[in-house]
């Protein structure tokens, strides 16, 4: 058990495809490993179809909650900031964990770009916002979290994801209805790497990254690569996992917002703070305020949607 928390240049590949488990694993490793300076931990993982929103985002504004529920696509909120992304088995997640001082997003991204360009003959480039673009299409979005002793930078890599599902899931009609100071997503057109070079597969990519990772860190010991089954560490991780799964974290960690419903040209403004409806402004005849005030927004969401009539 203890060996899983050792420091040094290492690669870990998660056997789980559960987004909550993987997010919990990521945080667990980041917080508990004794990170050594000038070394990196590479964590590779992928999830069953899910939508992951950033720490301070509003899931209602970022995704079609109804569609997600219908299709049983998981909704998760991660600990790092940034925007929303759609994960499925064609989307590789990469996390690089280092000490706080060694945190450097650009270095990580340039390494990826160089590795992939060289191996697969691509023309990827890194943008100002720390995304990776292939011409005008986005293939990678990144986010990071900095704590006192450690920092991690994670990003996605669209290898051969189902882009239709991606677009459908991330489409939100509520976006215009919501005013808040939550982090907005910057949307871009996306592209799979496999669309450009159809020899690229998930397996090839991780093999390539593992090999190049040790070279990048000048690490002679290339055996430090393991598959990790997070279920074995369930006890240690369960607090994180439970938090990630909880409705509280998912919905109530949203920054305060105002949701405007239009009922026959009459606007009703619903103020939500910490996931709870705190105020409703509007015509009393349309909406029975008593029923809604103090309720959890996501619980009464479908009722509110019903009010939406033009």
């Amino acid at each position: 058990m203890q060996s899983i928390l050792r420091g040094g240049n290492r690669v870990l590949i998660s056997k789980s495809t559960n987004v909550y488990t993987n997010l919990a694993l990521e945080r667990y490793l980041a917080e508990n490993i004794k990170h050594q300076p000038k070394t990196r931990l590479l964590l590779l993982w992928r999830n069953q179809p899910c939508v992951v929103v950033g720490r301070y985002q509003n899931p209602f504004a970022e995704s079609d909650i109804k569609y997600l529920a219908e299709k049983q696509i998981d909704l998760a909120r991660r600990y790092s900031g940034g925007g929303t992304c759609y994960h499925d088995l064609g989307n590789l997640n990469v996390t690089i964990v280092t000490t706080r001082e060694d945190y450097n997003r650009k270095k990580n991204l340039h390494w990826i770009v160089n590795t992939l360009n060289e191996a697969f003959n691509l023309t990827l480039h890194v943008t100002d916002r720390d995304d990776i673009f292939l011409d005008t299409f986005k293939v990678t979005g990144s986010a990071s979290r900095l704590e006192r002793l450690y920092a991690y930078h994670h990003f996605t890599l669209l290898i051969n994801s189902c882009l239709n599902d991606l677009r459908r899931s991330l489409k939100s009609e509520d976006q215009i209805k919501i005013t808040s100071k939550a982090t907005p997503s910057v949307r871009s057109s996306v592209l799979n790497l496999a669309d450009r070079n159809n020899s690229i597969t998930y397996e090839k990519t991780i093999a390539l990254l593992i090999e190049k990772f040790f070279q990048w860190n000048n690490e002679k010991n290339t055996t430090n690569c393991d598959y990790i089954d997070p279920l074995l560490y369930y006890e240690q991780m369960k607090d994180f996992e439970n938090e990630l799964k909880s409705q509280k974290f998912l919905y109530q960690a949203t920054p305060p917002f105002v949701y405007t419903v239009e009922h026959e040209k009459q606007p009703i403004e619903i103020s939500v703070s910490n996931g709870i409806i705190t105020d409703i402004k509007g015509n009393d005849s349309i909406i029975d305020k008593k029923n809604f005030l103090g309720q959890l927004f996501h619980a009464v969401y479908h009722n509110i949607q019903k009010l939406n009539k033009t």
Partner: protein, 519 residues
């Protein structure tokens, strides 16, 4: 004699011995109020004696000070905790969440808030322990780097952190990697000190540890930091002697206070109102002085005193004075000192061990090639000990020029670190102010220090006279100019014989100035 803010050097502490044997105008300047007056008697005719100094004159006074003073509250200071540079060129962040509220108690490293910038979320942790007094930013507000985040009322008076008052978000790889690398080397230092050094942008390799096994302590960092700043920063200066300061030094004295000052107070009591006590926090130079003082108390000193006959030198000085025109005369203010400095250098050639450095662990004697003679200069900003480099190569004229240059710089508190460091041998001319014999304190890592007393005229029995006549009443006693000199040395390295021989050599060179000039 006051202290000098030079890194790792110690305080010159002098005890003035007034002696009834010597006609000496005891100068009751304010300077003397600082120091204990111990009476002693010297037997007539004996001019050489050694006074061992016990090194357990440990100060038991607790000094607490504030390194910040935003508010003038003396009970516990309120510190403004600012948003520090996160790195990556980020100038502005958004406050996402507060982890504390007004009134909360925080410890060092507790979470204060979370900020977000460009998809990076950063948890900001507290640098201090205390109570949150005020939150400066609202959630979802944009905060610029350098703007205040919270006000914290500190629990304890700080003696840890000097310099920056910003939040401890450690900078990223744009941070000076050299400094970071040093902290990885095998330097004995606790994580808290490492962090402190990082924040103050100090390389731990440069700091000399004084703790166990050469461990670097908080005091070492503070001392290094304040020594790094040039003296011009301490422009506020050491405050003038106050009644409180006198009271404090009185506790150091091993013998009872002479009653002159207390008598004065008693007589005034009926006339004037009792003065209020005044507390003054120790700041700046004085804090360094205290630190170095405590360090130097571990060096076993011995003192060797003598009198040098300056008559010949006096004659030469008069000669030179008469020959110079007015303008040049102004420059030749301390015309004895350059000569003495040069003579010291010549004597050091014969006794190189006195021009050495000793490390704190006493493992190596580093014989220094160049004679960098330090001169203690008293200014209104405090006392400094700049040194003249490579005296062995300089002529007396060049030494004079250097001395004047350093004195001018010192008066304006403009001495550079270069001037203040790497001294190998120090001299103090207390004769300027008054006094004869003192027990100066060696300025570590040097091994010897000399204090030159006042030159006074004295009748000296003529030893040359072959007076077979036993009738001593009629022996001639020409008047000579005598200068009392006190040498203190580190007894671990220097023995009495070496010191005595050096002194004799110097004595010869000063009493026969032509020999100095020839060399």
């Amino acid at each position: 004699m006051l202290a000098r803010p030079v890194c790792l050097d110690t305080l010159l502490r002098c005890f003035v011995f007034p002696s009834s044997c010597f006609r000496n105008t005891f100068n009751r300047s304010s300077f003397n109020q600082f120091f204990p007056i111990v009476s002693s008697s010297f037997s007539h005719g004996q001019s050489i004696f050694t006074i061992p100094i016990s090194s357990n004159n440990v100060s038991t006074i607790k000094f607490s000070f504030r390194s910040y003073s935003i508010s003038s509250s003396r009970s516990s200071p309120v510190v403004q905790f600012k948003l520090a540079d996160i790195g990556e060129g980020i100038r502005e962040v958004e406050i996402i969440e507060w982890y504390v509220q007004v009134g909360d108690n925080v410890k060092q490293f507790d979470k204060i808030c979370e900020v977000q910038s460009d998809k990076a979320n950063v948890t900001i942790i507290s640098r201090y322990g205390g109570t949150i007094v005020k939150l400066h930013q609202n959630i979802s507000k944009a905060a610029k780097v350098g703007e205040p985040l919270v006000d914290i009322k500190l629990e304890h008076d700080l003696d840890v952190l000097t310099g920056t008052k910003t939040a401890t978000i450690m900078t990223d790889d744009t941070f000076d990697s050299a400094v970071y690398k040093d902290s990885l080397a095998n330097i004995l230092v606790t994580p808290a000190i490492r962090q402190m050094a990082k924040e103050l942008q100090i390389s731990l390799n440069d700091v000399q540890g004084t703790g166990k096994d050469g461990r670097i302590l908080k005091e070492d960092i503070i001392r290094f930091k304040s020594a790094k700043s040039t003296p011009s920063k301490f422009s506020s200066g050491i405050p003038p002697p106050s009644p409180t300061a006198v009271k404090q030094t009185s506790r150091l004295r091993p013998t009872p206070v002479p009653t002159s000052s207390s008598l004065k107070k008693a007589s005034d009591h009926s006339v004037t109102k009792a003065k209020n006590d005044r507390n003054e926090p120790i700041q700046g130079t004085r804090k360094t002085i205290i630190q170095t003082m405590i360090q130097t108390s571990s060096i076993p000193h011995f003192t060797y005193c003598d009198e040098y006959d300056m008559t010949q030198l006096e004659k030469i000085r008069k000669q030179l004075k008469n020959q110079l025109n007015n303008k040049q005369k102004q420059k030749q203010v301390h015309s004895y000192m350059p000569f003495i400095i040069k003579a010291c250098s010549l004597a050091l050639c014969d006794y190189p061990i006195l021009n050495a450095h000793i490390d704190s662990k006493c493992e190596t004697i580093a014989y220094k090639g160049s004679h960098n003679v330090g001169i203690i200069i008293h200014t209104k900003h405090g006392s400094f000990v700049p040194n003249i480099k490579n005296v062995q190569q300089l002529s007396i004229g060049q030494i004079t020029y250097e001395l004047n240059r350093l004195q001018e710089l010192a008066q304006n508190a403009n001495l550079s670190t270069e001037d203040l460091t790497n001294g190998t041998f120090s001299l103090s001319n207390i004769g300027d102010i008054g006094g004869t014999y003192t027990v100066p304190v060696v300025l570590s890592p040097e091994v010897v220090i000399g204090a030159l007393g006042k030159i006074f005229r004295q009748a000296v029995p003529d030893e040359d006279e072959q007076n077979s006549d036993e009738n001593k009443e009629y022996c001639s006693s020409p008047i000579h100019s005598m200068m009392s000199v006190s040498w203190s040395a580190d007894h671990r390295v220097i023995d009495g014989a070496t010191m005595a021989r050096f002194s004799n050599r110097l004595k010869f060179l000063l009493e026969n100035p032509l020999h100095t000039l020839i060399n």
